[in-house]
Structure formats: structure tokens, C-alpha cells
């Protein structure tokens, strides 16, 4: 009877030691991964996309019922607001009809001018519509996972938009999943122009819901209500995509409300504008456009 007792006495501290060792090892591994992830970004990216590829069917399945509930809530809201909405839509329709007439006239004029000056036709672009299956909140990133990847011809650097405007761009691509970095992400910098003054600026995300305008010329006076479009500078985004509207100006810093309501994202359109797409702001001019 003596032996097992002494073994136990010996085993208990050993067990504690082993546990402590495991724990410290795992902590060291976590820290190591943080350092390694910075140094070996492509490798980590591949590991990440492999895991997201594997998880994306589950995310898809889980996100569908949530989307349905949100849709039902939306529909109830619609029923409640139907009268006000109808009035608004009538007014908007009237306004749009006037714009339609203008657009027709401009289109004809544009066509005849193009004929006169023999402008080369603009490249057509290809796009993929993809469902949003995950939406990462929290402290570090603003991004969404979409269910489309390399097998759907999605590529890194492609622009993500909805009917409302610019969403962001594709940051990581797996075979059947891709991560879209939103405008609001800390690492997002979008060259924009103010629609009214044609002043250029950079819309820089800071993980808040309202990204801020930076690199604005000192003389520029951003006004609340100014609309922003992509400027196309830097070759990351094509010019002319609606981005957002200035909602606050404090001490010369303008905060922008994106046109896209990110929490409502359901599907995004990933567009290949043939831009190289990996250039940071201020980088040398982009490679020439690849026609598609």
C-alpha cells in the first residue's frame, strides 16, 4: 500500500508542473503566432483562408435563419411605414423621372460627342455577387466574410460595392470564401473627392462606424452634407463610386457616414475593375489597366 501512495505523492507535483509547462508553452505559442503572423503574412493568410473555407458552409447555414428573422422584422417595419413610404416614393419617383429625362438627353449628347471625338469605349467589367455569411466586430477589424472565392473568379484587391455605394475591397481570398475589408476598417484608406468642391482627400477607417477624412488640403472647408466619391487615385478603387456623406466636422476633422449600411449587408457585388489593387496610398502610379 505504501508504493502507490508515494507514486501519487510524486505524481501530483509532476502533474502540476506538466500543466504549468503546457500552459506556458501555449502562451509562448500565442505570442509566437503574433510575431510570426507579422513576419510571415502570406503563410498565415493561407492558413486563415483554409480555415474560413472549411467553416463557410456552417456560417452560411447559421446566418440564413438570422437573416430571415431580420427580414421579417424589416417587413413588419415596412408595413408600419407603408403610408409615409408611399408618399416619399411618389416624390422620389417624380424627381427621378425628371432625372431620367436629363439622363436620356445627356446620353444622346454623350454618344454624339464620342462619335465626334472617337473616344475608345470603356472596358467592360466582370462581377460576382456574393452572400455575406460572417461579420467580424470587435476591437481589431471591420470585415465581412462572403461566400465566393477563387473558384468564382474572386481575386484579392477587387472592389466590393452594393447599389448604395462602396463597401470596401477584397483582402483575403480562399477557394470558396473571401474576406472583404470594410471602409471602416483601421487599415482602409480610400482616395476620395468631395463632390461639390472637387477637393481630394483620403477616407481613413479607424474601426468606428464613421471613418474620417484625412490628407485634405489646408484650404479645403469640408461641409456637413458634402458627398464623397472615389477619386480613383492610387489605382486601388475605380473613380466615381459613391462613398458617403460628411455628417460631422470637429476641429477640421470631418467624419463620414458611408452610404452603405454595413450592418444590413446581405449580398455584395465583387467587381474586377482590372486594378492592381494592392497599392497603398501614395504608392507609385498603378499598372496600366488590363482589359477584360
Amino acid at each position: 500500500m505504501k508504493r502507490p501512495g508515494s507514486v501519487l505523492r510524486l505524481a501530483a507535483p509532476l502533474k502540476i508542473l506538466a500543466q504549468r509547462f503546457t500552459f506556458l508553452g501555449l502562451v509562448a505559442m500565442s505570442v509566437g503566432l503574433m510575431v510570426f503572423g507579422k513576419a510571415e503574412a502570406p503563410l498565415v493568410e493561407r492558413a486563415r483562408t483554409t480555415v474560413t473555407d472549411a467553416m463557410v458552409p456552417i456560417l452560411d447555414a447559421v446566418s440564413r435563419p438570422v437573416a430571415t428573422v431580420a427580414e421579417i422584422a424589416d417587413r413588419i417595419n415596412v408595413i408600419i411605414d407603408v403610408h409615409a413610404e408611399n408618399t416619399r416614393l411618389r416624390e422620389e419617383n417624380e424627381r427621378l423621372l425628371r432625372w431620367q429625362a436629363v439622363a436620356h438627353r445627356l446620353e444622346t449628347e454623350n454618344r454624339s460627342l464620342r462619335d465626334l471625338s472617337r473616344v475608345a469605349p470603356e472596358d467592360t467589367v466582370s462581377f460576382v455577387s456574393a452572400r455575406v455569411v460572417a461579420d467580424a466586430g470587435g476591437t481589431f477589424v471591420r470585415s465581412v466574410l462572403v461566400m465566393a472565392g477563387t473558384r468564382d473568379a474572386v481575386a484579392k484587391g477587387q472592389t466590393a460595392i452594393t447599389a448604395e455605394g462602396l463597401v470596401g475591397r477584397v483582402g483575403e481570398v480562399g477557394e470558396r470564401s473571401a474576406r472583404v475589408l470594410l471602409l471602416t476598417d483601421l487599415n482602409s484608406q480610400v482616395p476620395v473627392v468631395l463632390e461639390s468642391s472637387r477637393e481630394r482627400a483620403i477616407l481613413a477607417g479607424d474601426n468606428s462606424e464613421r471613418p474620417k477624412l484625412t490628407h485634405l488640403a489646408a484650404a479645403a472647408r469640408p461641409q456637413i452634407g458634402d458627398r464623397l466619391m472615389t477619386s480613383g487615385h492610387g489605382g486601388v478603387f475605380p473613380p466615381g463610386l459613391p462613398v458617403g456623406i460628411i455628417v460631422a466636422v470637429n476641429d477640421g476633422t470631418a467624419r463620414v457616414k458611408p452610404f452603405v449600411e454595413f450592418h444590413r449587408l446581405d449580398h455584395v457585388r465583387l467587381i474586377d475593375f482590372g486594378l492592381s489593387g494592392t497599392l497603398p496610398v501614395g504608392a507609385p502610379p498603378p499598372a496600366p489597366r488590363r482589359g477584360r
Binding site: M34, K38, R48, V51, L59, D135, G138, N207
Partner: protein
Amino acid sequence: MAIPLLATVVAVVFNVVPLRLPDYAPLAPGFVLMAVFYWTVHRPDLMRPWAVFLIGILDDMLSGTPLGVNSLVLLFVHWTIVAQHRVFRGKSFVLIWLAFALVALGAKLLLAAIAFAIGYGLIDPLVLMVQYILTLALYPPLALVMGRAQRLFLPAP
């Protein structure tokens, strides 16, 4: 082993599912933190450090966080509870909730420190505070669900 792990993986998935709530993304509460806390307190034998580590990595991968960040934070949570396990044994829910408040505060501060250390700058304290309060507020319902799962699948040891 399987049930706590599965329940926690569900929390990881739930953490990233688009809930379509306005202004939710920056304030999202830490469901994974809650799940790891719950299982480490109630069944430390079934929530091992390596499982905590893997859950953290999965969370990092799905949410797009730099790898290792959440695993480190969750290991800290796990270690705190295991080191103080006598404090938790047989305590009432309110006391455990109070302990959760302390541990979650530590976890949030650690997260902010890591974010700063790896170049993400200072996190808005207001955002951290709202995240923290939401995490605290949502712990009881989550613990209720986890408790159901525990009673259903894991009779007392």
C-alpha cells in the same frame, strides 16, 4: 470533452454571424470569453488549456484578428480561473457573475494592451466600456443556456 468544446465553438460562430443590428459591430460582446469562462469554472476537467488555445486561434481566424491575440486573452482567463479554482467551487451564481466581471475586465484590459503593443493604437475607452458592459449583461442568459446543455449532456461528475 466534446460538449464544452462544441458549445464554445458555437459561441465562436455566433460571434461572427451577421446579426444585422445597427452599431453592433464595434460593440459586440465577447461570447467566446463567456463560454470559456463558464466551462472553465464548471468543468475545468473538460476545458483544457490546449482546447482554449485552439478556440482562440479559431476565433482569430474567423474574425480576422491577428493570430494569437484571442488565444492569449482566453488562456489568461483560463489560467486565472484554474489558479483560483477554490474560490469558485460551489459558489452562488451571483458570486460567479461577480468573478466574471473581474476576469472580463482583466481580459478587456489585456486585449487593449495587446492591441497597443502590436500597433493597433489606443482603443476608444468608451467602446471598451460598452463592450464590457454588454459582455457582463449577456453572461447570465448565456450561462443559463450553457447550464441547460451541461445538465442535459453532462451529468455531474
